[in-house]
Amino acid sequence: MHSTALAKYKSELIQGIQAGISIAIGYFPVAIAFGLLAERTGLSIAETVMMSAIVFAGAAQYMSLSLIAAHVGAWEIIMTTFIVNIRHFLMSASLNEKVEKDSIWIKALYGFGVTDETYAVAAVRQEMVTAPYMFGLCLMAYSSWVINSGIGYIVGENLPAFLQESMGIALYALFIGLLVPSLKKHRKIIVLALLSAVINSVLLTTGRLSIGWSIALSSLFSSVVVECIFRKLEVQQDE
């Protein structure tokens, strides 16, 4: 009994690691660019790597660099970081609906690894999401982010431009690769993704919202609206 549980744990961990490879590749150019920018902002390499290791959030880290460069106060930078990253609340709440029962401590531990990308991969997984799967997935994303931030700091400028440019598509290709198989299955998912994409585009081009808020609000709004519509349709079909 014990050995089968261990075997399951191991296979889940490996599946998580495999699923994390695409994220690790996608983080490469983003982390390299962050390291390079941190060096230009005047951070030391230790500070750069420490920020990636402790904060582990791309958009907020970029923003903090421009604020540090502009000599903005620490509290203001911390508040901005909070505001940018509060969207993860929605993602963790959503992910919590499909994770296996576990102790709060274990969930709180892998909660550290929730980013836009790890969330997207875990949330569209066919099977239930287990703790070892999350550990493997987040470990891949995390190591790529931290290590490549350091590499970017040291060698950022010497990477060939065409490689940097073309790798910038990786995270978007990852998102598309995650979304398309589900689009083919349910009409509801097409409506969800399209509606949210349209609202996000409108919010970003007309409003004054940061991208973090814009993504969170358009996702939540579309999810609620689509749930109401499809519930009505189901009721009508039942009658």
């Binding site: 598509i169 598309i176 995650l178 398309v180 970003l204």
Partner: protein, 101 residues
């Protein structure tokens, strides 16, 4: 290390971790009504839509750059390629594109 930067990083880390961790703790004890559970199950697909559009078109000054990459990924994914292959395909096509155009 500059101690001001040190505490700044710690502060940023704390405020980033809290919203990531809190839902796992709160909603393990407190159960949401079914309607909101369903809404949360919709969120992944809506989030993916918003993560892709419109940002993918702005990764380069040349709007076509993102469009070509996204189109490649869509075709690869549509014909059943796994995610890793989808990512590699669009990187390869865009390397080709930026090398020649």
């Amino acid at each position: 290390m500059n101690s001001q930067i040190f505490w700044l990083i710690i502060g940023m880390g704390v405020v980033t971790y809290i919203p990531r961790m809190l839902p796992f703790v709160i909603f393990s004890q407190l159960h949401l009504p079914p309607f909101w559970q369903n809404v949360l199950k919709n969120v992944p697909y809506a989030t993916l839509g918003a993560l892709i559009v419109p940002s993918v078109f702005f990764i380069h000054e040349d709007f076509l750059f993102g469009a070509v990459g996204a189109f490649t990924a869509f075709i690869a994914a549509y014909f059943g390629a796994n995610v890793f292959f989808v990512v590699m395909c669009s990187i390869a096509v865009l390397s080709f594109y930026s090398f020649f155009f």
